[in-house]
Structure formats: C-alpha cells, structure tokens
C-alpha cells in the first residue's frame, strides 16, 4: 500500500533522513520507533506531503533549502512530489504531533472542518463513531477545543484525522506528553479502530512499550537511518530496543 525507496531528505546540508526504505501492507499497523531528532517527523511530513508544501513556500520566497531524493509510492503511484491535499483525497491522512486542533472552534466544529473533503453524511457518521470511541468527550461537544485538556485534544486530533476518511492513517507521536492513563485510552482507541475498521496505520513513537504489543511490524530509526526492523514481538524481545526505547 505504501512504499518508500531510498528516501533521503536534506534541510540545507543537514541530512534528516538517510536512505530510508519501508513498506506497509493494507490492514497493517506499523510503528516507527526513534528518539528525538531521529527523523520521525521528517519521515511523516515526507509521507504526508507537508514537506512539499514547505518546499514550495520556500521556493516562492526565493529560497531552496529542502532536497528530497528517493521515492514514496502509494497504491503503486509515485506521490513523492504530490501536494498534501491531493494525498488526503487519495486517503492518506496525517495527524501531526502535539495534538493539532483548531483552538478557537468548538469540538464539533473542529470535526466538521476536518471533514472538508468528505460528504456531510460521511462526516456525521464519523462523528458518531468518534463519540463511540471516546464517550467521555460527548459532554464536551460545545467546548472550545483550546480549553480541552492535552489528552482530550489528542483524542480530538485523532477524530479529526478520521473525519478526513483515511485509508492510511499516519499518527505522529500520538502519545507525546500524555499521562500513562491517557496513553492507555488512546492506544485502546487505536486498537479498536483497527479491529472495527481494518484501517492501515503508521505510528511514530519515542517510547516503544505502549504500542509494540499492537503492531504488526516496526522500524527503529536513528539519525535518519534505519537500524532495525521486525515484527512487534521481535522488537519487544530485542535487548537493544528494551534498553533504548522502553523508558526504564
């Protein structure tokens, strides 16, 4: 479904991703594990096309500092240079790190803005599903999103990504900054989404412990380079992964 081949991304001279190849099969949940500055967000921005937007904006202002080599293929189509909204149309949706929401709109409006490309009926359906996933948010429908707690904002951000009707969902550090209890309910929600909808998901994380049990395949990335890959169980048993990414 998704395939990257020898992906390299430079910010000026700095190499953020180095020869990175990965593949995701339909229905899989795949994790990218890495510490800060490993290149996780660069990878997600490259997959979702945000980096193309940044690149174009820089070019318009007269700079050219982002270089991408290699390719990203989605459903067999080369989308390396495709603009982000075109990728969303094809069903590839990114939920950025640090709960990206519209703080001045209320919760419901956030979900409706997120359903921009989809039919109204589809959006309403997703909204019902969202409250089925997170019943605790039901009473906060009219709350301004900026006044929600960090965990609630992350739930909302996940719901907004769902409202864009993804076939492939990219989650950039969904557990960042959340309490263990919040982390658990989010992981549970992601697991439920997977079981009930069969959605293909790519997750990046710093700490592997909460998500490794539910993934099919994982990649460990360091300084932009792939250092290790394997099934969830393989990675769980790997002493290096334990030492570096279990937060113990």
């Amino acid at each position: 479904m998704l395939e990257t081949a020898n992906l390299m991304v430079f910010y000026e001279n700095a190499l953020a991703l180095n020869d990175f190849s990965m593949s995701v099969q339909p229905g899989q949940v795949v994790a990218i594990i890495g510490s800060n500055s490993a290149g996780k967000t660069t990878l997600m921005n490259t997959l979702s096309g945000l980096i193309i937007d940044t690149k174009i904006k820089e070019q318009r202002k007269g700079g050219e500092r982002i270089t991408i080599y290699g390719s990203v293929k989605y459903d067999g189509e080369d989308i390396t240079e495709l603009y982000p909204n075109e990728r969303v149309k094809r069903g590839m949706v990114l939920c950025r790190e640090r709960h990206p929401i519209f703080p001045e709109s209320d919760l419901m409006e956030n979900l409706r803005i997120a359903g921009y490309l989809r039919k109204r009926s589809e959006v309403e359906e997703t909204i019902r599903y969202f409250f089925h996933l997170f019943p605790t948010l039901d009473r906060l429908r009219m709350r301004k999103a900026g006044f929600l707690s960090g965990g609630e904002q992350q739930m909302l951000a996940l719901g907004m990504a769902l409202a864009a009707k993804p076939r492939l969902l990219l989650l950039d550090e969904p557990l960042l900054g959340l309490s263990p209890i919040m982390q658990k309910s989010l992981v549970d929600a992601i697991r439920t989404i997977r079981e009930e909808t069969g959605l293909t998901i790519v997750i990046t994380e710093q700490f592997a412990r909460p998500i490794l049990p539910m993934i099919d395949h994982g990649y460990v990335i360091e300084n932009g380079m792939l250092t290790l890959e394997g099934s969830g169980a393989d990675l769980m048993d790997n002493p290096e992964v334990k030492a570096a990414y279990f937060g113990v």
Binding site: S48, L50, D53, K57, R60, K61, Y83, P84, N85, V88, K89, V93, L94, C95, R96, R98, P100, I101, F102, P103, E104, S105, E109, R112, I113, A114, Y116, L117, K144, G146, F147, G150, Q153, M160, A161, A163, A164, G177
Partner: protein, 290 residues
C-alpha cells in the same frame, strides 16, 4: 435632535459594519490581510460609473458585473502579489497597501472628482420615522447590511468553504493535513472580501460622490472596527460597528462634523492602549497549550 442622532447613528453603524465585513472576512476570519481594501471599494464605484455612464449598461447589470470583476481582481491580487508573501504579515500589509495606493492615486491622477461622479440610488424617495426623514437608499443599506452580516455568519459556520476559512485562520498546517488546499481557500477569501467591498461601495456611494479620499477613510474605518471588535468574530464586527457608529454620530451632533473623522483613530489608540486584543478578541495566550 436626539431622535435624529439615534436613527442616523443606527444607519451609520450599519454602514460601518458593511464596510468592515469584507475586510474582516479576509483579515480576521481567514488570516490574509488586504490593505488594498479601500482602493477596491472606490475602484468598484468607478467601475459601476464607467459601465453606466460610458458604456450605457443598465445599473443592475453594472452593479453585479462590478462585484464579480472586483472579486476577480481580489483573486488576481492574491495570485500575483500575496501568494509569495503568505505568512509574512508585514509584507502582506505593505504590498497590498502599495497596490491600494497605486489604484487610488491613479484615479486622483485622472482627476476623476466632482459632482458628475455619482452612482444612482436604488430607489428614489423617503419615509418618515417619527419626525425624521430617511431616504430609501439608507433603508436599502440597513436591509442589505443586516442580511449580509447574517449571511456571512451562516456562511462561515455552516458551509465547507466557510469552515475552511476558519480553519486556515487558526492553523494553516493542520488545515493542510486535512485536505484543505490552503492556497486556494486563502485566494477565495481575498476574492470574497473584495466582492464584499464592491457590494458595500454600490450601496454606500450613492449617498455622495465617488472620491479618492474616501478610499483611505474606508480602510481606516474598517481597521478601526476590526481592532475594536477584536479579530476573528463577525459578532465583534457588528458590536464594534455600533459603538463606533454611535460615537461618530454623537460627535457629529454635539461637537461638529469635522470631529467625526478622528473618532475611529482615537478609538484605535484607546483600544490598543487598554485592551489590545479588542473587546471581543481572543485571549490567545490562554488557548495555546503544548
């Protein structure tokens, strides 16, 4: 005296709201600044004048045509000037203000001033409310202004494009990840604001002659309303229009008409000194959490 002031204060307030709506739509709702706003307002007026007087096009057709053309011009302004500057607010302001200057000063250079440069009223005549005469055009202004404000509120809250406007104003990157073509939506918002400027011009200009200087006044008034109301809310625009509108009218009645023009300037200074986010502005600090 008081009755006249109250009624004309109301009308003046609606006029301010009408002027500010388009500016507010582009500047505060979708986050793109268009300081050529006053110039587009005057340009739309001259456009109608040219259509009616030089090309003998019927007024109704001329009016619609000028709204569409001004909107198109707004889209062009976005495509060829603003697109490269998006996100650099100061550059957006300087560039669009520059374009506005060029348009307005071009008309000054042409020397298009005087009593022949007027637009026709929609319908002639007047009505009595209490002991005050009100001409039909002012009633048209009140009717159109009210429906535009309500329409704009509904548009930004219940349509896909309107919601996308609100989205890109708050977080462009997030909107981008949800499939909003942010460049296109921003362009549409500038076009929309320009179209509203033209609509306001066609309604308001028949009260007097088309004058280049009014282009600057329109911009100052629109800015004042947006600053007082606080950026980002249609309700704030309406409330601020009424405050400023009545303040102007009372100043006019009790201090004299020549003091009227400094009311918005004083209001801007006061608000910036006392409550810079505006009366209904969002307290951004509180809402940004990481």
């Amino acid at each position: 005296m008081l009755e006249v002031t109250l009624i004309y204060g109301f009308i003046n307030s609606v006029i301010l709201a009408l002027i500010a709506l388009g500016f507010s739509l582009t500047f505060s709702i979708s986050g793109v600044s268009n300081f050529a706003y006053g110039a587009l307002f005057i340009l739309a007026g001259y456009m109608v004048w040219i259509f009616v007087n030089l090309l003998s096009i019927p007024f109704a057709v001329a009016a619609i045509l000028s709204v569409l053309l001004t909107a198109l011009l707004g889209a062009g302004l976005y495509r060829f000037v603003l697109l490269r500057l998006r996100g650099l607010v100061i550059s957006e302001v300087i560039a669009t203000f520059g374009v506005g200057l060029a348009i307005l000063e071009f008309f000054r250079y042409l020397g298009w001033t005087g009593f022949e440069y007027t637009l026709p009223v929609f319908t002639d005549g007047s009505v009595m409310i209490g002991n005050t005469y009100i001409d039909h055009q002012r009633l048209w202004i009140v009717g159109a202004g009210t429906s535009l404000a309500v329409g704009l509120y509904l548009f930004t809250h219940y349509t896909k494009v309107g919601l996308a406007f609100r989205g890109i104003a708050q977080d462009e990157r997030t909107a981008l990840t949800l499939g909003v073509n942010t460049d296109r939506i921003a362009g549409i918002s500038v076009a929309f604001g320009a179209g509203l400027a033209a609509t306001a011009a066609i309604l308001i200009l028949p009260r007097g002659t088309i004058a280049v200087n009014e282009g600057y006044d329109v911009l100052v008034n629109a800015l004042a309303v947006c600053i007082i109301g606080g950026l980002g809310s249609t309700a704030g625009v309406v409330a601020a229009s009424f405050m400023l509108g009545y303040a102007q009218m009372f100043t006019d009645s009790y201090l004299g008409p020549h003091w009227k023009m400094i009311v918005p300037l004083i209001a801007i200074l006061l608000i910036l000194a006392v409550r810079p986010s505006g009366l209904f502005g969002k307290q951004k600090e509180l809402e940004e959490r990481i």
